[in-house]
């Protein structure tokens, strides 16, 4: 049954991908990409990767699609006819595809429990991590503790992205744009619903942030969901109102603070006599130390991701308002 669902989803993905290749209407292409992302999130769930599905849905289908639509609002909606032939790309793709298929012939069969990936490194994560780290969610244990350095790197990648977007676009000041038409002020239903929904979204974000130890969730997903709440606010009430609530400069500060918070946990471990990011040293009882460490670094991740996603939205959004695109 699982295989049947898998097959159907993969087939839908393949159709979506082919459609994207041939469509010229970029708005439809971006929408199809959103669909592609959601379908892959479903496939991830089917393959038992619930944390990944959550992240793909919020980050891939959520943020990426929003940014692409924002870019489309500032550029063209239709792709023009291409002048160069597609023989060379087709050739390159066929050769690469053939190499990959050749590579799959020797791969361990799909789903078998004795595959090499399930030996050697993984068993410790599955069997020992509830005792060594003390969390039911093994993905969080590996992400935040065993491979915490990778996650620090990931947070810095997010920070690097905001540096890139800020240096390219900046966030333009919003003095002239307090017209009644900005946002959706005229749409009263949206305003009422937004006022109810936004606090719930923020609450949900906090839930995801702190519940990541016990179920799917964690800093990344929480940061994105919290940013989504504020993005909704700025869409309905206007960018200048959003700037008044959470200003761009403040967000830059938050983004830096998140990374520094994460790194300072590691430095504190060194101060206590351990290696960088050794949470066992953070408290007298190693398990308690692990819990402290994980909660604080996830908070750092959540703060940075929230600040970065919202900053990037502000950067794109303020370009649109300046060129009077509604």
């Amino acid at each position: 049954m699982g295989e049947l669902i898998d097959l159907v989803l993969l087939a839908m993905l393949a159709i979506t991908a082919i459609r994207i290749i041939f469509l010229k209407d970029l708005f439809a292409v971006v929408m199809l990409f959103g669909i592609y992302s959601f379908l892959s999130a479903l496939i991830f769930i089917n393959l038992d990767a619930v944390d990944v599905a959550f992240t793909e849905a919020s980050v891939g289908a959520g943020i990426s699609t929003v940014l692409m639509l924002g870019t489309l609002a500032l550029t063209n909606r239709k792709e023009k006819e291409s002048s160069h032939s597609s023989i060379l790309p087709l050739l390159v793709v066929c050769i690469t595809g053939a190499a990959l298929i050749y590579g799959t012939l020797d791969m361990p069969p799909f789903g078998h429990p004795n595959n090499p990936v399930h030996e050697h490194v993984a068993p410790r994560y599955i069997e020992e991590s509830p005792k060594e780290v003390g969390l039911p969610n093994m993905v969080t244990s590996v992400l935040a503790s065993y491979r915490g350095f990778d996650t620090l790197g990931e947070t810095v990648v997010v920070f690097a992205a905001v540096i890139g977007v800020l240096s390219l676009l900046g966030v333009r000041r919003q003095e002239e744009n307090d017209t009644p038409e900005s946002g959706f002020r005229a749409h009263h239903v949206l305003q009422v619903v937004a006022r109810v929904v936004i606090p719930l979204i923020i609450l949900f974000a906090l839930y995801v942030q702190f519940h990541g130890d016990f179920g799917p969730g964690g800093g990344f997903q929480a940061g994105v969901i919290a940013a989504a709440a504020f993005i909704l606010y700025s869409l309905v009430f206007g960018l200048s109102s959003a700037f008044a609530v959470v200003g761009p400069k403040f967000l830059q500060l938050l983004a830096s603070i998140g990374v520094l918070l994460y790194a300072s946990v590691g430095l504190f471990s060194i101060y206590k006599g351990g290696q960088f990011l050794d949470y066992n040293k953070l408290a007298a009882d190693p398990i308690v130390g692990q819990h402290y460490g994980i909660i604080i670094i996830e908070l750092g991740v959540g703060i940075t991701v929230f600040a970065v996603m919202l900053s990037i939205f502000y950067a794109f959004g303020s370009q649109a308002e300046r060129s009077n695109i509604r």
Binding site: A99, H118, H120, Y146, G148, D150, G164, L260, Q275, F276
Partner: protein, 506 residues
Amino acid sequence: MFEQHLIALPILLPLIAAPITLILGHSRLSWMFATAISALACYFSWHLLTATLTESVLSYAVGGWSPPWGIELRVDVANAFVLLAVSALSTLVLIYSKDSIEKEIESSKHALYYTAHLLCLAGLSGILLTGDAFNLFVFLEISSLATYTLVSLASDRRCLTAAFRYLIMGTIGATFILIGVGMLYMKTGTLNMLDLAIRIDVYESSRTINTGLAFIMVGVSIKLALFPLHMWLPAAYTHAPSAVTAFLASTATKVAFYVMIRFIFTIFGLNYVFEEMGMDLILMVLAIVAIFKCSYMATVQSNVKTVLAYSSVAQIGYMILGISLVSVTGLMAGLIHIFNHALMKGALFMAVGAVFYRVGSVEISAFKGLGKQMPFTMAAFTIAGLSIIGVPLTVGFISKWYLVTAALEQQHWILAALVLVGSLLAVVYMGRVIEAAYFQKPPASQDSNQVKEAPWLMLLPMWILVLANIYFGIDTSLTTEAASSASEWLFQTSSIAAANSAEVSQ
């Protein structure tokens, strides 16, 4: 208290400094802070090099979890040597940046420039010091994103398209590396480099591992700008701000070259890559084409930065030629050229940046008569140019010497001759610029009479590099000792992996 954490410091310092630099926000303050951090990182990497020259391998388990369950930082002479080059160049470029970016980047973005530079340094240091294949991918992306940002900071609009093309090609390269690492992981179940080396030996003749090798090699070649995947480089180097080009040309591709060496020698093992998969022949052919095609392309450009960009791709060809010879001397030639080329190209791009600062253009025609008007800058350019050609008493000669020796050791007479012909082409492309500077009259307009020498803050790092060119060309003890012991160690451990696996599979 610091000694046991020495390995982590070159990564942690710029990593933590970057957000602080963003908060500082002020141009002058960010410059001083960034330069201080980079100098500190350079100091620590020097200690790391001396430590590895005595102790061979240093290891650091991040998070207190022993590898392969945790991430390991692993240093031997090879990566300590490259790290020294990277952090030293970073510090010198930062000193140079203060004046250089005044004319090339808008002042509101200066703090962002320094933040991005620190992020790039952190990323490159992470790539060099990590012992985990996926961690390498993460730091590769940190440095790549920072690089795309740095390239796009210039005022010329062509930097935007150059940065975009670099982004697309770079991300394809990184994704290929990700696919390759995934295939290795699928077959071995581990991500730690040493662990992979032991386990791959057991599964050697697997098609999946072959494909993994192919994808990793292609992905790294894109980052390395190995012909024919070098298309992103000329535009990116030409249109990026001068300080950025000086930094990237001396560091980014060299770090990718290190990654290739690490994968070939430590993870996959010599026998597998060269004898079974025949990579040495492929690399040799590509290297030779790179050297000739790109040296030729350098001779017909009118923009001096583009000349130097094509020259860089040709120099990478020399490095690849070194490893394709599969000998200790060949690898040593490649490693020593990492260091030497950083010195040469760093100085050259700094000199060109100084010309842009004063004259506003870097076409060859803009160099006319600068020999008299900017004597120090052009002297620096000339000496570094002689180094590229390979004149004795410069580091360029040392690199070419070892390369030719390695070729002759294996009776590749033709290869040795080709290397020398490549030097002749270098004479042509460097000579055109030097001729314009010294033997032609400056254009007879009013502005040209006011061209002065470059500010001392730009001349200082430039001349430190030029003097280093000469110093290390005469007293080669440090560089040859480091490069040869790195080379020997890499060859040695390539067979140890095989010996270890014999124990594992029994």
